[in-house]
Structures are given as structure tokens and as C-alpha cells.
Amino acid sequence: MQWTELVFAFVTSAVGALGGLGGAVLLVPLLVLTGTSPRLAAPLGLVSVAAGSLSAAGPQLKERTVNHRLGVTTELAAAVGAVGGALGSGLASDTFLKRFLAVVAIAAALLGGRRKGVRNLPDPALSATDVGEHVGSLSGVYQLGNGYVPYRARRLGAGLGLFGLSGVLAGMAGASGGFIKTPATSEVMHVPVRVAAATTTFTIGLTAATALTVMAVQGRLQLDHAAAVCVGSMLGGRVGALAQTRLSPPQVRRFLSVVLIVVGVILLVRS
């Protein structure tokens, strides 16, 4: 039984769901630090991402917070990046991947710690029957407390560029890229943070599926280890999501940022 992977996946997914950064960006460096090759750790990170995304899908569909048109459109860029990154990572050396992973961990720490709050305001003319996404556009309405907030995605070109970059990161490092996608969707495309986070949870599952397909074909997926990561991530993600209602996400994000910086620095020094 793969206890190390199970426990790591549980803890990182719980902390990741709690902080809104995703667990894989923490899981992959941890696995590498404990002796797993980056080439084999990256697909396990993607298994963690895909498992967490699937376990969150049901509740998010019920809340109608995911904008699928926005997710599919932006994911086109991320999927192209993920395929390129996954193909490239098969050719890259372990040292390069360790350094790349260190930079990703530190970037995640900095971006996660800077995330901002709500921009869009409730419209009193809207009601519960208006909640959801609109046909033919990247817009919709979501529920915020007792209010209903309309939104429309802006600056699609800049958003697509950032999603392409997040795809490359996912393909190369096995991280979800969620720490780029959520801020890109909320801060660049002006979509409310809650919709951005839910849509990101959907899209990181897609990016992971795309990159995992490539890595499985490359023979880099250890299925026995993947089973343990899958269990840990699904359970950890649920525990983190439940705990999120009790704790302050900004505090957890700051804690997670410190951990990521420490992990990143250790990886840089070791490589």
C-alpha cells in the first residue's frame, strides 16, 4: 500500500482546497523532495488535480456557479499549452524539471497571497431563477449571500494568453495551474471570484485529463501509486471544502504561500 502518497495527497488536497490554490502544486514538490523523480511525480500531481475536480463537480453544478462556455473557451488555450508542456517535459532533464517546479511553487506562493476580493455587485432586479450562464455569451448570474450578481467576461485575449501559460505549467510540472487561472479569470477577465474559482475547478480537471492522457501514453503513470493519490485527493478535497466554511481562506492562503516558498527554495538548492 502506498501510504506516503495517500497521506501526502490527503493533506495537500485538504490544504489546497482550503486555500483555493489547489493541492498538486504542493504535492508534486513534496513527492520530489521525498525521492520521487519529477518525471513520475508530475502525473501523480495531475491525478490529484483530476480527482479533486471530479469530486467538486456535483456540488458546483448544483450551485450553478460554473460557467461552462467560459471554461471551454479558455481551456482551448490551456489544453494546447498542456499538450506542449507534457510533450516537452518528456524530453527535459530531471534537474531542469526540479528548477522549473521550484519556480512554479514560488510563483504560486506569490500569486496566491495576492488574490483579491469581490468586484461585481448584486442587482436587486435579479432573483434565484436568473442564476446560471447565458446562451451565446460569456456571461451569467450567480448568488452571493441573499443577492444575485450579474457578470460578463472581459479581455478574452489576455485571459487566453494566461490560460495557455497555465497549461504549459500543468503539462511540465504536474501542477494544476489554478493559481494562474483563478486570478486571470477574476482579475484580468473581471469574472467574480466565486464563479472564477468554480470554473477553474472544472477547467483544471480538463487540463489534467489532457496532460495525463499524454503522460500515460509516454508510460510515466504508475497506476498503483495513482490509486493512492486518487483516494487521498478525493477525501482531502472534501475535508478541505468542508473546513473552508469554518476557517479564513486568506489566512490559509498566506500559510500555504509560506510552505510553498520553503518547498521551492529547498528544491532550488537541491537541484
Partner: protein
């Protein structure tokens, strides 16, 4: 200006995702507590489900968007599935 039209999710998607979640979790648990070829087989089932589920979700949304005439996003969904297939194909080369 006409008011925006609210879209619905494809019929059967939520139950399908619930079933996929349970199947993936059960297969992963069996793959974790067993060893050897059983571990590989059930690990493979778990990974297969978590990879297939989001792609199926895109396919169902794409089919729905095509049916209601939202062609731009139906094409985007099809493109996304093609990119995934192309990635697997490129890795085989």
C-alpha cells in the same frame, strides 16, 4: 436589446458525475489496498474515470450547445476534445 437567455445543464449530467465520483473512489480504494496486478487494474479504472469524466462533460455540453444553436461554443467544445486527442496521438509518435 433582448434579455439574455438562461441555459440549462445537459440532462443526466449530475447523476452521471455522481456515479463517476463513486466509481473512481471505490476503484481507487481497491487499487490502494490491493497489490500487484489488482492494484494496477483498479488504479487504471480510477484514472480512466477521472480522465474520462471531464471530457464527457465537455462532450455533453458541446452536444447541447449544438442542439440549441449555440454554434460558436459547440465548435469550441469540439476543438477542445480534438486537442486532447491530438495530444495523445502526438505522444504516441
Amino acid at each position: 436589446m433582448s434579455s439574455p437567455v438562461l441555459d440549462a445543464e445537459p440532462r443526466g449530467l449530475s447523476p452521471l458525475l455522481r456515479i463517476a465520483t463513486v466509481v473512481a473512489l471505490v476503484a481507487a480504494v481497491i487499487g490502494t489496498v490491493t497489490s500487484g496486478r489488482w492494484s494496477f487494474a483498479f488504479g487504471g479504472i480510477a484514472v480512466g474515470v477521472i480522465v474520462a469524466a471531464p471530457l464527457l462533460r465537455v462532450a455533453l455540453f458541446g452536444a447541447r450547445w449544438a442542439r440549441i444553436g449555440d454554434r460558436r461554443y459547440a465548435v469550441a467544445a469540439l476543438g477542445l476534445l480534438l486537442v486532447t486527442a491530438a495530444g495523445a496521438g502526438l505522444a504516441l509518435l
